[in-house]
């Protein structure tokens, strides 16, 4: 895997892009939790060149202040794809990235050969609300994200420091690490808030019918962030979409069951 920084719109944005594997390109858009080279991407890289940009506002990717709403974000990503010379490729998005992928596929359907959405945000059902991602306590958040709340990663989230409550000693390495962590979380969560606050509905249902490509909607069976009932809601508006609910997984289905999800995406691409 290689990481590079790509300039978009003459330096308005400086975007980290992770790239690995070989074969035809595949675009992956990460979720609210951020971007790492995970087993899912490693699995997809077995047959594809996986290209995974980090959304402005996350990590070192800059320019989030130039993005006001979901439309700005969509056109930013189209500019990035132009910059990278990418066309006619599959797009896979998880969580917030799933919402972005759906918007991109609806805006330029011809550009994307296949669409896989894993637990995407973007629709709203009064009878079955999406969690209030920004006000839940960390233990509640961890339990909503992971099917196995005792897993190391779930425990880490449940017990992470909180800016309002944490006393740190800036003179120590540990203190600096905590400050770095809290600053990054504030930065990435306020970026997510641009597209999700206060209700994660920016009118996608008016555009989703344009996602006509072979498509797959993947959901973790016990997703507590976005209830699995949303899978059908998405698929019913996309003319060529199938639904697959993955057992023993919640919102972080792409990390919890990476092999299963890789298999699902491979069979989608064979369609």
């Amino acid at each position: 895997m290689k990481e590079r920084s790509v300039s978009v719109r003459n330096g308005d944005f400086q975007v980290d892009v992770l790239e690995g594997g070989s074969g035809d390109p595949l675009l992956y858009l990460h979720g609210v939790a951020g971007l790492e080279w995970t087993p899912l991407l490693e699995g997809l890289a077995n047959g594809h060149t996986v290209i995974a940009p980090r959304t402005p506002g996350f990590g070192e990717s800059t320019g989030t202040e130039k993005l006001h709403d979901i439309h700005d974000l969509t056109f930013f990503y189209l500019d990035l794809l132009d910059e990278l010379g990418l066309d006619n490729l599959p797009i896979v998005g998880h969580s917030l990235g799933g919402m972005f992928a759906a918007e991109l596929a609806a805006t330029q359907p011809a550009r994307f050969s296949h669409v896989a959405l894993a637990a995407p945000f973007g629709l709203w059902n009064d009878a079955s609300p999406v969690i209030d991602l920004f006000s839940v306590s960390l233990p509640e958040l961890a339990a909503a994200m992971y099917a196995d709340v005792k897993s190391e990663v779930a425990v880490a989230i449940a017990t992470a420091p909180q800016a309002r409550m944490t006393e740190v000693d800036p003179a120590t390495d540990a203190g600096q690490a905590t400050i770095g962590y809290l600053v990054e979380r504030s930065k990435s969560m306020s970026t997510a808030a641009k597209y999700l606050w206060p209700i994660p509905n920016r009118g996608l249902s008016k555009r989703l019918h344009r996602v006509r490509q072979p498509a797959l909607v993947i959901w973790g069976e016990s997703d507590g962030i976005i209830p699995p009932g949303y899978a059908e809601r998405f698929a019913s508006q996309m003319p060529n979409a199938a639904v697959h609910v993955v057992p023993d997984a919640a919102h972080m289905v792409v990390d919890e069951q990476p092999n299963h999800v890789v298999g699902l995406i491979e069979s989608l691409l064979a369609r």
């Binding site: 006000s135 944490t166 809290l182 808030a193």
Partner: protein, 411 residues
């Protein structure tokens, strides 16, 4: 120095077990606890208390804006200010203020404040708060990551609407108006003074210094923690060559009685009601992402003052709250001495006092208002007399110093 009475108009009748049974006094506080008969009484008593404060010698009266909560029942402080503009004749009417980022278009605030300034005969202070996270991000659904930008744009629009002589167009990111042409315009020229209430964010200090607005630190953490914040403000101010104490305001809870026994008997339970019930806020509502800027988070962490207000969940007693400086309670001379110390230490030209807070009932609130106004305030006015107050409404009263406590009106 100027001393103003601040009223929050709290819901005074929450049940004893409120804290145990509910997670928050704000945002999702159960509607079943709201009784409109109680609210009706509360509004009228609050208006009476504000009027009374004006009559017995306060320099100004302050009201503010909050939404979806039992802590302060004034979603529209302008309605209270409107009554006060008629019920009082000389004090400053300090609307502290309107959360300008919440109004679409924000010109509404420019209009209502202009009306209030005209009705009151030029006695209005225009407060421009960003607003608490609970009010703005949750109560009004405003995106916390865009709130400050929206605020800055609204402020620019309102000030231009007051000050510019010609009709103009405004092409903002959040507000577009082809014609901005304010009718009415404020009586004060070029406009009412602007006060900005803050809770200690760096950006607010900078804005106040850059634009010449008064900075009012409104917090219940008391003068001991307030010192840290005001030191931060004055550091920024001094760097810009500003040192006038009237540039700053500070809020303090005050109760006055003749002795310790009386203080406890009269005020302990009501003070505890305020700190333990009115500030019982679910932490998830207090700090949504983007509400505090990265610089403020970093500065807070660096200074290790992150648990401002009431981050801990422990109940506090009256004695602990006095000890920590959250409430200034004592005999008139003790209170005078402490407030003088606070004003000097924090370099405060505008002291905003809460005499009614928590569940303090009407008659006791009036007693506290009267005693503070007559036995404390006259002995503080001489402070900072060497400075000029550029933040006072043009037609509001400027009362004399030590010599002339106002007469007690018939109750």
């Amino acid at each position: 120095m100027k001393i103003e009475m601040f009223h929050l108009c709290p819901y005074r009748d929450l049940p004893e077990d409120f804290r145990e049974k509910n997670r928050s006094v704000w945002v999702d506080v159960p509607r079943s606890l709201f009784d409109a008969e109680i609210a009706s009484r509360t509004y009228n008593e609050t208006l009476d208390e504000l009027k009374y404060a004006a009559e017995v010698g306060y320099d100004g009266i302050c009201v503010n804006e909050h939404h979806q909560n039992a802590y302060g029942l004034m979603p529209s402080p302008n309605l209270m200010g409107s009554v006060m503009a008629r019920e009082t004749k000389d004090v400053a009417i300090i609307i502290m203020g309107n959360s300008i980022a919440l109004y679409d278009p924000p010109i509404r605030v420019a209009e209502e404040f202009a009306m209030l300034d005209c009705i009151s005969g030029g006695r209005l202070v225009a407060g421009f708060p960003v607003g608490s996270a609970m009010d703005t991000a949750y109560g009004y659904g405003s995106n916390p990551s865009q709130l400050r930008e929206k605020y800055a744009e609204a402020e620019e629009l309102i000030l231009r609407a007051w000050e510019e002589e010609e009709v103009f167009s405004f092409d903002g990111k959040y507000t577009q108006l082809r014609y901005v042409n304010l009718w009415p315009r404020p009586l004060q020229k070029p406009r009412p003074p602007v006060w900005v209430p803050g809770a200690g964010s760096i950006e607010t200090w900078n804005t106040c210094i850059d634009k010449g607005h008064l900075y009012a630190y409104l917090s219940y953490s008391g003068y001991k923690r307030g010192k840290q914040v005001m030191d931060g403000f004055w550091k920024v101010a001094n760097a810009a060559g500003v040192d006038n104490p009237y540039h700053a305001g500070f809020l303090q809870l005050v109760c006055v009685a003749d002795n310790e026994q009386e203080l406890h008997d009269k005020y302990a339970a009501h003070t505890e009601y305020f700190f333990n019930k009115m500030l019982h806020i679910y932490p998830g509502f207090a700090d949504p992402p983007g509400y505090r800027t990265i610089d403020t988070i970093k500065a807070g962490l660096m200074a290790q003052t992150t648990s401002f207000g009431r981050a801990d969940t422990k109940e506090l007693s009256f004695d602990e709250l006095r000890e920590a400086g959250n409430v200034v309670a004592g005999t008139p001379s003790q209170v005078t001495e402490q407030l003088e110390q606070v004003s000097k230490d924090l370099r405060i030209g505008h002291l905003m006092l809460l005499n009614q807070f928590g569940s303090i009932p009407h008659e006791l609130a009036k007693e506290n208002i009267r005693r503070t106004a007559q036995e404390v305030i006259p002995n503080l006015r001489h402070l900072w007399s060497e400075y000029e107050d550029h933040w006072w409404p043009q037609n509001a009263i400027v009362r004399g110093g030590v010599s002339a406590p106002a007469a007690t009106p018939a109750d």
